[in-house]
Symmetry: C2
Subunit: 164 residues, 2 copies
């Protein structure tokens, strides 16, 4: 595959939410996603990584702004059932994504992406990556500027506003 960056996408209609310190045991992720599924809440950018405490974990994801209140309610009910510590939410976000193919195979790509934001004082709130997309979550009012800087750094022709 010719490794290439093809575009930048922005999504300003989402919010981040997380349930913190859930038991790190089989069935927990299932329970949480089942509860959200029953409420027809569409989730994206699901993230679960290292937790400093063995036996606990955090699960983060994004939802449409319009679903945030319902999501927080649903997770708060689960929090008691699972004895999780808390539910966190950040509505002030935008996803700014580098789109391409084979993005993973070249270490220069994430370094350059995070580098252009860092050099311009834009704080990266969250990160998620795959071979075809590296998403940086930034404050909503930083999204357009972040996208323009990335566009310029990677010499791209267009910035598309999509739900990517």
């Amino acid at each position: 595959i010719f490794r290439t960056v093809s575009g930048v996408a922005i999504d300003k209609d989402q919010a981040c939410v997380a349930i913190m310190d859930v038991p790190d045991q089989p069935g927990i992720a299932a329970r949480i996603t089942q509860a959200l599924c029953e409420e027809n809440i569409v989730i994206d950018m699901i993230m679960q990584s290292f937790h400093p405490t063995i036996g606990l974990n955090n699960i983060t994801f994004t939802v449409n702004d319009s679903d945030l209140d319902q999501t927080i309610n649903s997770l708060s009910a689960l929090k008691d059932e699972l004895r999780a510590r808390e539910v966190l939410a950040d509505p002030d976000i935008a996803k700014v994504s580098l789109i391409g193919a084979g993005l993973v195979g070249q270490p220069t790509i994430p370094a350059k992406l995070f580098g252009v934001l860092g050099a311009n004082g834009i704080n990266i709130k969250m990160i998620s990556s795959s071979e075809m997309k590296i998403t940086c979550v930034v404050a909503r009012q930083q999204a357009d500027r972040a996208a323009a800087l990335i566009h310029q750094a990677f010499e791209l022709d267009a910035v598309c506003d999509t739900r990517a």
Copy 2:
């Protein structure tokens, strides 16, 4: 887009690593990825989500097994420079990924994926998702069984061992 699940992929040649409690300020993600880039370390599944403490964050990613020692050394040197708390690593992992298109738009898909693992006692160590791939990180010796269960649950024809 017709929302469809098309396959399951397994990658048993990677390890997870994280740098914990880095300052949540512009330029930090850049500094970390730049250091790894200079050592020609290929990184995937970059994750940064919520941290319970404002002003701190954790960055997690995966590397090839063969790069793990070098990665830990590189991050440990950075840890002092950035005053991060610690570097964590888990070599006992495999990525088991559901592959498809439009995976995000249907809440039943993640619920079913995590559900089949949970119902079979397989602990999900980490999760990363995009429209085209939902990756569950499990213990390496659970990978084949996890993939077979997912394959069955989604009625798929083939399980491919790829570096996906």
